[in-house]
């Protein structure tokens, strides 16, 4: 009984970690830059395809594809930020939503055209397959790896935001862009870098997630709801909020499906409603 529960808890944490990794970039654009980027899932999908292509076409090992997926997606994010997104920073939210939804549909059509409509397979290296025993408990090796990666990345993000000069620049650029500009911070560069970072993390999440979430051209639409849930419940603009929200949602989603499979798929929506009633601005949202 207890072993079952711990197993469910672990699966939920792993699933939540993945959701967090993909959603954190959305939290950055939505909360810090005040931009509604519904095309965020498309960056995750791009990372997934980069990973699959590298593996199947050029035989690059899975682990080596991960940093490349991050870099390529970040670069594409930076280019799009400079050419397209930048024009809409001062536009209304409706314009941003319409623009990014349009971008999503273009990404879906493009991916279908290039890679076809079917699911992309991914072959994990032997050491990440099957189950391993940890303290007498059987857990999926890959899920353990996922959790480890997300812990490392979260720590790195927290350190970056709170201990480095760049983090300080980001926080001041967000708090008051005009003043930040006045004291010599290159706000537009800071925003570009943040956007690239968020996109890159989504791409990394997409690549890591193929084995759990699958990868096909409808990916950005299929998971958009989950990413938005994480940011809405957690509160945009923080790291802690989406992290706690993603873990909560992951655990409740998995536990719901395990213990009450008849209604399991609806648990997270119920949880969202309850949490948003209790915390209208999100768990760690900044009240304005």
């Amino acid at each position: 009984m207890i072993a079952n529960f711990i197993g469910v808890l672990f699966d939920g944490v792993a699933y939540g970690s993945l959701l967090f990794l993909i959603s954190i970039g959305l939290s950055v654009t939505l909360g810090l830059m005040n931009f509604v980027n519904l095309a965020h899932g498309a960056f995750a999908m791009l990372g997934g395809y980069v990973c699959v292509m590298l593996m199947s076409r050029w035989g690059v090992p899975f682990l080596a594809t991960l940093p490349i997926a991050f870099i390529v997606t970040a670069a594409v994010g930076a280019v799009l930020e400079r050419t397209l997104y930048r024009r809409l920073y001062r536009a209304s939210h409706l314009d941003q939503v319409l623009f990014s939804i349009g971008l999503t549909f273009m990404a879906i059509a493009g991916a279908t055209w290039v890679w076809g409509a079917s699911q992309q397979p991914v072959r994990l290296p032997e050491m990440l397959r099957g189950q391993v025993e940890v303290l007498g408990l059987h857990v999926g090796a890959y899920r353990l790896f996922l959790v480890a990666v997300v812990v490392v990345i979260t720590l790195a993000l927290v350190v970056m935001m709170e201990r480095t000069r760049f983090g300080a620049q980001v926080r001041s650029a967000v708090d008051d862009a005009d003043v930040a500009n006045g004291v010599g911070i290159n706000v537009s560069l800071v925003f570009s870098l943040m956007f690239a970072l968020g996109s890159g993390l989504a791409g990394l999440g997409g690549a890591l997630g193929i084995d759990v979430l699958g990868l096909d051209p409808t990916f950005p639409l299929k998971y958009m709801v989950y990413f938005l849930l994480v940011v809405a419940v957690g509160g945009a603009g923080t790291i802690r909020g989406p992290l706690v929200a993603a873990l909560l949602l992951g655990i409740f989603d998995v536990a719901g499906k395990y213990y009450v499979p008849q209604i399991g798929a609806f648990i997270i929506y119920t949880l969202m409603v309850v949490l948003l009633i209790a915390f209208p601005a999100g768990l760690y949202g900044r009240r304005t």
Binding site: Y15, Q119, G130, H138, G140, G214, G264
Partner: protein, 385 residues
Amino acid sequence: MRRILFAAAMLAAAPLFAQEPLKIGVIAPFSGPFADYGRQFEGGIKAFMKVNGSTVAGRKVEILYRDTTGPNPEIAKRHAQELVTRDKVDFLAGFGLTPEALAVADVATEAKKPMVVMNAASSIVTTKSPYIARFSMTLQQVSAPMGGWAARNGIKRVYTLVSDYAPGIDSETGFKNAFTAAGGQVVDSIRVPLRSPDFAPYLQRVKDAKPDAVFVFLPAGEQGIAFMKGFQERGLAQAGIKVIATGDITDDHVIDAMGDVSLGMITTFHYSAAHDSPENAAFLKAFAEVAADKGRPNFMAVGGYDGMAGIYEVTRKLGGKIDGDKVMEAFKGMKLASPRGAIMIDPATRDIVQTVYVRKVEKRGNSYYNVEFDKIADVKDPGKP
């Protein structure tokens, strides 16, 4: 004088020249997540016309493809209405998914247009209009034989896991009824949402119940791959749990993408690309020639092929004069030699009667195939009263 004779000859020949093409409107998903369904139909149809020519009973055959983009009843219905009123088709055909077929049933009834179902596999489809004949399968037809086979082969306790929509519930019902009637025990049943991204919690539940086997129905394609991955990751096979399923999960079109996980999996189904017969050899050869880009043909390609065979046969019988009621009469009791074996259209239900095979996944060279090792002949749809 010669002029008059020539004119008379022209007049006499006129009906021949005025012969309209035989128009077949094919409604199916050609884009979106189910795009492979439409592509397989198209390949099967082309393969049939490659073997049998593009003229029947003096009429040139013209195929009009219409894309529903997925399980969209409104779009399917609109296409059907346009095909009937504007394009004046003789047959409506295709239908990858049950909602498409159900949406068009009324149009077929109203316009008295024969509707040839090439896949949509819920039991109820043929009951929705007297103008529907099915050349594919029903889910109960392939899942019930698995119930009997499992009980006869030492599988006593089974957990069922199906997609939560009509075909899933159909296959669950078919399996359960046959399995319990043969003395087996269904431990528990889970219905998972159609868009379930992660099977982990469901599979853990199955593992903890320690059944002899898990019976699975998932729509052909991505879900099957995700399920098998999870099955392997959770170590269910090591826990002594077998997977038994309808052939959707080891669909010929996706089985190579699944790889070694599928080895040894036992499924019941009506078609395998590995079926050994001259008809199938001819079909595979023609498909490879006309639809090389569509990969290996699967049961949907065969549905397209046999649907066309039915249309050709009926058109020949009626001498090229298509009339909805006469077509349906001619369909009843029709027998064809299909790439899957002998098939017949049940005169009472207009549904297909066919052999269901028990198959096991084996590796041949670098590819994986469903190799048939047992069969149950002349299976009717158990879902019909």
